[in-house]
Symmetry: none
Amino acid sequence: MLSERRLEVLRAIVQDYVGTEEPVGSKALTERHKLGVSPATVRNDMAVLEEEGYIAQPHTSAGRIPTDKGYRLFVDRLAGVKPLSTPERRAIHNFLDGAVDLDDVVGRTVRLLAQLTRQVAVVQYPSLTRSSIRHVELLSLAPARLMLVLITDTGRVEQRVIDCPAPFGETSLADLRARLNGRVGGRRFADVPQLVQDLPESFEEPEDRATVTTVLATLLETLVEEHEERLMIGGTANLTRFGHDFPLTIRPVLEALEEQVVLLKLLGEVKESGMTVRIGHENAYEGLNSTSVVSVGYGSGGEAVAKLGVVGPTRMDYPGTMGAVRAVARYVGQILAES
Amino acid sequence: MLSERRLEVLRAIVQDYVGTEEPVGSKALTERHKLGVSPATVRNDMAVLEEEGYIAQPHTSAGRIPTDKGYRLFVDRLAGVKPLSTPERRAIHNFLDGAVDLDDVVGRTVRLLAQLTRQVAVVQYPSLTRSSIRHVELLSLAPARLMLVLITDTGRVEQRVIDCPAPFGETSLADLRARLNGRVGGRRFADVPQLVQDLPESFEEPEDRATVTTVLATLLETLVEEHEERLMIGGTANLTRFGHDFPLTIRPVLEALEEQVVLLKLLGEVKESGMTVRIGHENAYEGLNSTSVVSVGYGSGGEAVAKLGVVGPTRMDYPGTMGAVRAVARYVGQILAES
DNA sequence: TCCTGGCACTCGGGCAGGGCGAGTGCCAAA
DNA sequence: TTTGGCACTCGCCCTGCCCGAGTGCCAGGA
């Protein structure tokens, strides 16, 4: 177990290194932080911290830098989540309030996150699986062709063209539309199958029944299939702040960012609630071994419908980043709940 | 007027520089190209070329590199468009044939272009300016809140939430919905503004009129925004091949790539037909001053519905890039025509 | 008139050497 | 357990140097 002071030393090292991007030595530490001990003591502590694997020396006669393990300890035990300043909060609110539709919300969120954290932002579109249905619309395109439009409470809209087995009259259509909305409006996707099970039976005409069955099949299919996730990415220009050696660092990161699958997996690992921080080698994907990912779920109600996060160098301002990510996630949730 | 041989020297310089990324000297030139003259002669030619502004010396005792003007001459008069090899063509075909929908076509095209040219690819979604409206749907979300859903004949759906100045009754809503569809259903986007101009007047209640006006404003706005095209970008990892100095070069490029407006303008400058090559400072946007943009329109019929292109360093393989861009544009056109 | 070989010159890159200083580890004393 | 002192290490940076690629110029030749 590390003593209180040694933890304090580690915290100081992390803070200084994040600020200066340069290995930090014992003397500089005592000068910049009020540790109340001499450099020599700090040196001893550093030796212990190094032995334990929390910090490392890039080369023999240099200061120390935190290792992934060191950052992990810092995040887990030493760092709080820094709340945003009031002006920042207000800025978030103002910026997100102007959004006109879901794409816009996501787009603005990405830009906002990238700006606030000065890192690469990744926002997943609200998934359909946990959404509920706001409205189902049925339109007649041709006598035997319908269009099904599905509007979720997150503002997402999905549409399908349906070829019916037989022409479907306007009255039947209005009837079906009303019943459908009566049953599934406001309900969760997951609940829909049971709710519509017996709908076809309430129609007299066998042909109408067939059509209704087709429509329902399409509806259910849409609900299931459409959890194909989408992402939006922004702030890649912030990659240039990565470091000096960055051709080597930046390339795999750019590649990872283009591989949506990788990113989705990355976000997928986020726990249902609460913030997840993956530091360096904790990331399964190799190209991101020198980056950290801070991510969190967001949603319109109490529960998360999707995730968002940022990707940055392991040497990042964790409290600030976590604060920004959390705040943005909350506000986006609010916006989604309102619209 | 430059003599035939001097042009030949310029071509050799461009080719060598593109290949080696290093300033090319007179001796190396005569060794690698069969110019039939001695280094001394080449030196004289180079002096002339430099005086004319086609090439430049990075520093006094170094070889020459082409200037933007030099590349321009090269592209205009010295370089053909290099056709792709048969395997390459086949690869394009196979790759694009697997696409299932528009998003997929565009996505595959971007990846293809990026791979073939090893540069950053930009593909504009096919324009909707010639689309028409299939259906307009109005839903009541709350007493004074509506959702407008717009369905185009290309199957695209757009939605907007509208906050009304006053509550809008169900009957008025049904009325408006019917009138709206009666007027604009099946019509081209461009025709809509005139068609709905007098709609508010046909409502009795002043409050309803205000609401109708709001709805129409939102509708028109949506139509306009639809014209504002979408883009897909890929291959940003290729930016790492830019050069040695690249933190400085790459950053503005990444920024430009995130500014869709900039890119749209960039592509917008493409002539309707034929390929456009913008070299270095020919690009209006400052951040792209050290890049070249090769772009071309593509479309399903004879006419271009959108544009695509690549962004790369001015030092790029122009014939090869142009060949790839042209070939991809053609195949995409075919795919779109088929579907 | 244009091309060529020769020649002197320039200048950037790379390498070696040396001083500097930050930082370390160890030790003895408080 | 902490502290001050001290010797030591080693990377960084500056300097001076050499080397060679590349140039410009010139005089002689086709």
